[in-house]
């Protein structure tokens, strides 16, 4: 009743290729204290088992478009971590 209500943003994280293999998961939901940026999500992922191997600045896509580490997150966002591309 008298406590402070912290609002949170919940985002969907997608992992691919070697990142998915290292963390052992291809998708997860992450709740972060608001306001939150891509960097905040990355720091949380690094604390998970296997997450320490994520690079300093992985390529990220927010809702299907590439986005920088400082980009703010909104609940319902889809944040994908993209290992080095190898199509073709």
């Amino acid at each position: 009743m008298s406590g402070i209500v912290l609002s949170t943003v919940t985002v969907r994280i997608l992992l691919f290729g070697s990142y998915a293999q290292r963390l052992g998961v291809a998708a997860l939901d992450l709740s972060l204290e608001s306001p939150a940026t891509i960097d905040d999500a990355l720091n949380r992922l690094r604390s998970l088992p296997g997450g320490e191997a994520l690079p300093e600045r992985p390529l990220c896509a927010l809702n299907l478009s590439q986005a920088g580490a400082g980009t703010p997150l909104t609940s319902g966002d889809e944040l994908a971590l993209l290992p080095p591309l190898a199509g073709g």
């Binding site: 691919f16 070697s18 293999q21 291809a26 998708a27 591309l85 190898a86 199509g87 073709g88």
Partner: protein
């Protein structure tokens, strides 16, 4: 759909872009090679972030079509491929060959640079590597293929992830 798990046929792509006004058609076919640097490849598996890959392919095709006044057909395969299988096929048709060659080259270079597709190669020595990761992620000798991923990295799953969003 630019990404498909069906075998690719360059003849079908050529037929799609061919038109009476277009006299030059340049094509590129990327096939699975039996070697990667000095290692012998036995097979590989392509996976993709499907909705983003589709959107990025569409952007690249639109860029090339507008810059060189041409028609582009592009397909990239996902799933398990054997040595010799076609991984990517591109056909670019224009009135003249200069434009067709330039557009075709642009599409394959941009695809490699921008489209979220990953390749896991299996070698004859039993090792497996995510190409571009700079590290070998699993050796068959040391048990199974590394950490087990909860949720297979299949196109179905990725599509489902996307479908789950409301």
């Amino acid at each position: 759909m630019y990404l498909t798990s069906d075998p690719l046929d360059i003849g079908l792509l050529v037929a799609r872009v061919h038109a009476p006004s277009r006299g030059g058609i340049a094509c590129f076919i990327g096939a699975v090679r039996n070697h990667q640097e000095d290692r012998e490849v036995v097979r590989l598996e392509y996976s993709a972030y499907l909705p983003m890959a589709e959107a990025e392919c569409a952007r690249i095709v639109a860029e090339a079509e507008s810059r060189w006044t041409c028609a582009i057909a592009l397909q990239h395969r996902i799933g398990t491929l054997e040595v010799g299988d076609t991984a990517v096929a591109i056909a670019a048709a224009s009135a003249h060959r200069d434009e067709a060659f330039a557009a075709c080259r642009y599409v394959i270079e941009e695809l490699k640079r921008r489209v979220p597709i990953w390749k896991r190669e299996s070698y004859t020595d039993g090792s497996v590597e995510w190409v571009g990761s700079g590290e070998e992620v699993a050796k068959r000798e040391s048990g199974e293929a590394g950490r087990t991923v909860r949720g297979e990295l299949t196109s179905e799953l990725i599509a489902r992830f996307n479908g789950e969003k409301t």
